[in-house]
């Protein structure tokens, strides 16, 4: 019993950690390249899941719930990825690019502003008079997300440890994405340009790299990952709310910092740690203290290792 319980928390923690990792990569990429905590990223993720629910409602797909409609899942994944990528790119164009020369604090404030606008859009979106949004009566209430992916236990119905197709979905989506991303960053021209821009934007521009385009591409990729994450999050947890971006964003950002912001393997490692800590705290301590524990860990890590677990910090040049 003890062991099974532990294994169960392990599986839950890993699955949640993988989802957080996808969001965390979006934070860490943007921070790596323009040193901005992109506050709006978590809320972008939230809007992605609202889009997914809207598509389901519009196509009447909620009727297929429980049927294992992998084609529908693929459609959702792709459309939300495109949507979030485009939205992220637009936010960068409108709210960040004009301010890039005017200091980090201005950028950060602008990002907080963008985040709040997205939250409000999510709130209004939840008020749409559609059946999937409960007719828009209580806009702020959490929305049920139809269980497109079945919740059957793959280890047999009487096994005490649950391993469901949902868990496989999470792994099946996140792992290939991370591998693809690693390939992009380390092997392609774009990846090289991204790393160059991250190290020294001025030198990169002098070398003929169109840094604006590279930064735009970074936001596109980060946004797309957020879009994928939004769909698997919704499918995994079956409930979405306009406030979840804040919470998920904090988790993901904590993960990014934990692993050393700017480092992609760090973000993934940090996210898995956070997922596990959450699951273990939920299981062995009390759920209501989980957030406190996560933030407490964040604060402690920043105090003792300001550059994160895997991060390296450039010394301020004087």
């Amino acid at each position: 019993m003890e062991l099974e319980f532990f294994l169960q928390q392990l599986i839950t923690g890993l699955s949640n950690g993988m989802i957080i990792a996808l969001i965390a990569i979006g934070y860490t990429m943007v921070y790596g390249i323009i040193e901005l905590i992109n506050f709006a990223h978590g809320d972008l993720f939230m809007l992605g899941s609202f889009l997914a629910l809207t598509i389901l409602g519009a196509l009447g797909m909620d009727a297929w719930a429980g049927g294992g409609t992998w084609g529908g899942v693929l459609l959702l994944l792709l459309s939300c990825a495109v949507f979030c990528a485009g939205l992220n790119w637009t936010i960068e164009r409108v709210a960040y690019r004009p301010l890039r020369a005017s200091g980090k604090l201005s950028l950060l404030v602008s990002a907080i502003g963008a985040s709040f606008i997205l939250v409000n859009l999510g709130l209004f979106w939840g008020g749409l008079p559609m059946d999937v949004f409960a007719g828009g009566v209580a806009a702020a209430a959490p929305k049920d997300f139809p269980p497109l992916v079945p919740n059957t236990n793959l280890l047999g119905a009487d096994s005490l440890v649950q391993l469901t197709p949902k868990d496989l979905l999470v792994v099946g989506v996140t792992l290939p994405l991370m591998l693809a991303l690693t390939w992009i960053v380390t092997r392609t021209r774009l990846g090289k340009a991204m790393r160059a821009t991250a190290q020294n934007p001025i030198a990169a521009r002098l070398m003929g790299i169109d840094t604006d385009r590279v930064i735009g591409a970074t936001f596109l990729i980060g946004g797309a990952l957020g879009g994928f994450a939004s769909v698997i999050y919704a499918l995994y947890n079956n409930t979405i709310s306009f406030q979840m971006g804040y919470r998920a964003g904090m988790d993901a950002f904590t993960a990014a910092v934990l692993g050393g912001i700017g480092s992609m393997p760090g973000a993934v490692a940090g996210a898995i740690v956070i997922g596990l800590v959450r699951a273990m705290s939920d299981g062995y301590l009390e759920t209501r203290w989980t957030n406190t524990i996560v933030f407490g860990i964040l604060v402690l890590i920043l105090i003792f290792r300001p550059s994160g677990l895997l991060g390296s910090r450039a010394k301020e040049k004087v």
Binding site: G103, L108, V109, I112, F116, G127, A139, F295, G296, E316
Partner: protein, 355 residues
């Protein structure tokens, strides 16, 4: 210095005169009482972020600490019952202590990280308030809270005009003291750290200590604001009254008003809180009146517009008027909003000829 009337004095003169001209309606008093409370919170944040350049995204936590500290010390469900004035002072002290405890280990962190730590502190504070129901009474909040007495005369809750002047007076005292600090050695050290931390350290100013004093002072002022917030309601309200939105409201106040400017903070509070209390209500009414089923219409509740308004305010001010409505006083100074903007990025700095 330019010869012009001090905008702070204008603010207090107008505020003192207003109730005589306005019909003493409830909406007016409600709006201005919260304007004064949030002006105090903004004043505290202005010390931390505006003067000293440390971005604090957890101001609501210090407000909450002040409110709950005040409530626990004064409410008659607990044995302490120190009375309104002692409660107010002690809540300020508790706020300062909390600021000190959070600041001691974290003020060495650089900008963004400090912002995240303060934000995390805000979350932790909320969770603690929600979870320690034995002490904080959870979502009910602690109530009732005592009313202030001045020489045997008690200001009742319904006596809105007296509350108005009481809050105005407390705000005036706080502004006076903060201004004195700003114009003294202490305040100059804060400003110099914001302007250029390294140069300031090379002038003999210990950075960490100076930051800590600023952080504790700002937290104390915000905590007093929180205590008054609770006193006005005669209840701490539920813990969610001190969520991230409130921290951002405080940030909006100083950014819209003008970072590092006391007068700006006052104006920012009028604009932001006034917008909250009046414009949003009207906007929501208008949307509500266009449709019959106003109860279900998401656009018809003023609360549902807050995020949008705050977000737009932040983005537009940063884009169009980064120095705020009433920037700090000096002629020829650079805008105060990005304290780090006037300096070269870390890559290109004084060591140019060195390594």
């Amino acid at each position: 210095m330019r010869a012009r009337v001090n905008p702070i004095l204008i603010f207090f003169a107008v505020a003192a005169a207003l109730p005589m001209f306005f019909g003493a309606t409830g909406l007016f008093y409600d709006a201005f009482q919260s304007i004064f409370v949030f002006a105090l919170v903004g004043l505290g944040l202005n010390i931390i972020t505006g003067f000293t350049g440390m971005l604090n995204l957890g101001m609501a936590a210090f407000m909450a600490i002040g409110a709950y500290g005040f409530a626990i010390l004064t409410c008659d469900i607990y044995p302490f019952q120190v009375g309104f004035w002692w409660g107010l002072l002690l809540s300020g002290a508790i706020g300062a202590l909390a600021g000190f405890l959070l600041g001691a280990p974290t003020l060495g962190l650089s900008g963004d990280y400090l912002a995240i730590v303060t934000m995390g502190f805000g979350e932790i504070t909320l969770d603690v308030l929600k979870n320690l129901e034995v002490i904080t009474k959870g979502t009910q909040g602690i109530n009732p809270l005592p009313r202030p007495t001045i020489g045997g005369w008690t200001i009742e809750l319904q006596d809105e005009r007296s509350w108005y002047y009481l809050l105005l007076l407390i705000l005036a005292v706080a502004v006076l003291l903060v201004r004195r600090l700003e114009r003294s050695r202490t305040g100059r050290a804060w400003l110099s750290i914001r302007e250029d931390a390294l140069a300031s350290q090379c002038m003999g100013i210990p950075p960490k200590r100076t930051r800590m004093i600023a952080f504790a002072t700002g937290s104390a002022v915000a905590a007093i604001g929180g205590a008054l917030f609770a006193a006005l309601l005669s209840s701490t309200g539920e813990p969610n009254s001190y969520d991230f939105q409130v921290s951002i409201l405080a940030l909006c106040i100083i950014i819209v008003g003008g970072m590092g400017s006391i007068a700006g903070t006052l104006v920012g509070a009028v604009v932001m809180v006034g917008m909250n209390a009046i414009v949003l209500v009207k906007l929501a009414d208008w949307f509500g009146s266009r449709e019959q089923s106003s109860s279900s219409n998401v656009l018809a509740s003023p609360n549902n517009w807050k995020y949008l308004i705050f977000g737009l305010a932040l983005i537009l001010v940063v884009r169009l008027k980064p120095e705020g409505l009433l920037p700090p006083r000096l002629e020829g100074g650079t805008p105060a909003l990005p304290p780090d903007a006037s300096k070269p990025k870390s890559g290109v700095s004084i060591g140019g000829g060195g390594a």
